[in-house]
Amino acid sequence: MTAAALETRNLTRRFGGLTAVDDVSMTLASGRLNAIIGPNGAGKTTFFNLVTGELRADAGSVTAHGVALTNLPPHRIVRAGVSRTLQIKSVFGGLTVADNVRAAVMAHEGVMSPFRSILSYGAISRRVADLIAEVGLERYADTKAQTLSYGDVALLELALALANEPKLLLLDEPVCGMGPQETERAVAKIKDVARRTDVVIIEHDMEVVFSIADHILVMAQGAILAEGTPAEISANAKVQETYLGAAEDED
């Protein structure tokens, strides 16, 4: 039996009186594209922050592909093969696209020689070029990241997240804020990546979720409300009531 892509036991995080993630135990099987949906404030992002070590859990444990991640610092979790993108896209704005990706590849390879030029690493430069090509940003390689369009920033962030050859990739609202064309491009890329990496995606766009997810978890008020295939979730009355119906009103 292969280990689950992501497994949590009794994961809990409180902010003052608010329990943002409330005793969450889940097992997400490997080889599926998993999605987490739920209304704003349900605790989805906080859940990711607990997995990546950016927030400490008040209780509970996290395991990815059999590796215990609980209480590891974020950079160690990244080195254990877990990557993520952020709800608010986050790259190195003042650096070129190539240097963005190079920084990520070099961090992954653990090179930090203080006296060799960054351009003297042939294998790394090739991998940087491959990653840039993979997300289709070749013509922006020497452009500063802060001048990219929103959709391109998201693709660059994806390239950064792929630089550590992740076994588990967490995507927080990857198409939020994108136009229809950009969304299409990003969704295609995510599907592509999901063929070789386990992906967990948080997404508000129901059309996107139901078209790409193999397995859906519904979160509300810090807890898991329901879990199942897209067909099961759309037939679930409890979900209809608390979320799917409400989402229509939101927009």
Binding site: P73, L86, S113, P114, I118, T147, S149
Partner: protein
């Protein structure tokens, strides 16, 4: 094209610096040579600020502490251990580096104003400690010593008493220091620094140990400030606790920002501009600090990336491209939120 211009400008700068003792004394024997010597030394302190603020995004107001340790390291090694010039310089760098390790382990856990405050607190603690440890440090009066020769063998004796020799020794060490930093800043370590400066959260999420990275920069900055302090001690044959005070740190921060942080040589030009300005104005107006302040405000308002920013914008204009090549095809249709 701008790379070629920059290379040419660097050659001109190097040639000009090498020629300083030949030309400046014509104006006023020795005086201006010493001013440039001083600029070179102080520019290293500004560079120390730049390494932190310009490369890992930490604004320090306490770099004078490591300058002070560099001064005393050199002065005490010469007076008590009979160290020569090179031994004294090394002692200064080592003393400053050790102090930076101790302070850095605590300080780089913090960022922004918390970091700024703790750097000031550290420098104040040691300022008062040095002030009160009069038997060792000379306190307010400082510690005078006579500078050992720089080189004394094969019948050749080079001493700092000769203004021109002193200038070339300082120029050589300063250039060596900038050369090493140039290597470091274009290396994988330098790229790590920049990643941390640009976005420390993303830096963590690509697997960088941000704390260690900032600590490395902090220690490096301490060593550079220590070299500056040691050279300044030899330059004045004197060490004093008053150089640890935070107004010295503040001045270095101003020089760095006026020159342009995040560029290797920006702080050198910032230091040069403000020290030359001070030398010129202070002879005719005793409240020259107002003028320095006004000049600083002007630069910060109209050239927020400092002199280095003005330079690269100017180059970009000359070569007919804007500095931040916006892409004609992107952005317009799908505006960022």
């Amino acid at each position: 094209m701008s790379a070629a211009v920059n290379r040419a400008a660097l050659l001109v700068l190097a040639a000009a610096l090498l020629a300083v003792p030949q030309f400046l004394p014509l104006l006023n024997a020795g005086f201006w040579t010493n001013v440039v010597t001083e600029i070179l030394i102080w520019s290293l302190l500004a560079t120390s600020v730049n390494l932190l603020f310009g490369y890992v995004g930490l604004l320090s107001f306490g770099q004078a502490l490591y300058f002070g340790f560099g001064m005393y390291g050199a002065a005490l090694a010469v007076t008590h251990w009979n160290a020569g010039f090179w031994g004294g310089t090394l002692a200064g760098i080592v003393a400053a580096t050790l102090m930076a390790v101790v302070a850095g382990v605590l300080a780089v856990r913090l960022t922004w104003h918390y970091f700024a405050i703790i750097t000031v607190v550290f420098s104040l603690i040691f300022y008062f400690a040095a002030m009160s440890a009069k038997p060792i440090t000379g306190g307010d009066d400082g510690l005078s010593f006579s500078a050992p020769p720089v080189f004394d063998a094969f019948g050749l004796k080079l001493t700092l008493a000769d203004t021109v020799t002193q200038y070339y020794v300082v120029l050589g060490l300063t250039a060596l220091c900038y050369g090493l930093l140039w290597l470091i800043l274009r290396s994988p370590l330098g790229l790590r620094f920049e990643a941390v400066r640009e976005n420390d959260r993303r830096a963590r999420l690509i697997g960088i140990n941000v704390y260690l990275c900032r600590l490395t920069a902090f220690i490096l900055a301490g060593a550079v400030a220590g070299l500056a302090g040691a050279l300044f001690a030899f330059f004045g044959r004197y060490a004093s606790a008053s150089y640890m005070f935070y107004h010295v740190s503040g001045e270095a921060t101003v020089w760095a920002i006026v020159g342009g942080v995040g560029t290797l040589l920006g702080p050198l030009f910032g230091t040069a501009l403000l020290i030359v300005f001070r030398e010129l104005v202070s002879t005719v107006w005793e409240n020259y600090l107002f003028a320095v302040g006004a000049l600083t405000v002007l630069v910060v308002m109209f050239a927020p990336r400092g002199l280095a920013g003005l330079w690269s914008d100017g180059l970009a204009k000359l070569s007919g491209r804007s500095a931040s090549q916006p892409d004609p095809q992107a952005g317009a249709a799908e505006a960022p939120r």
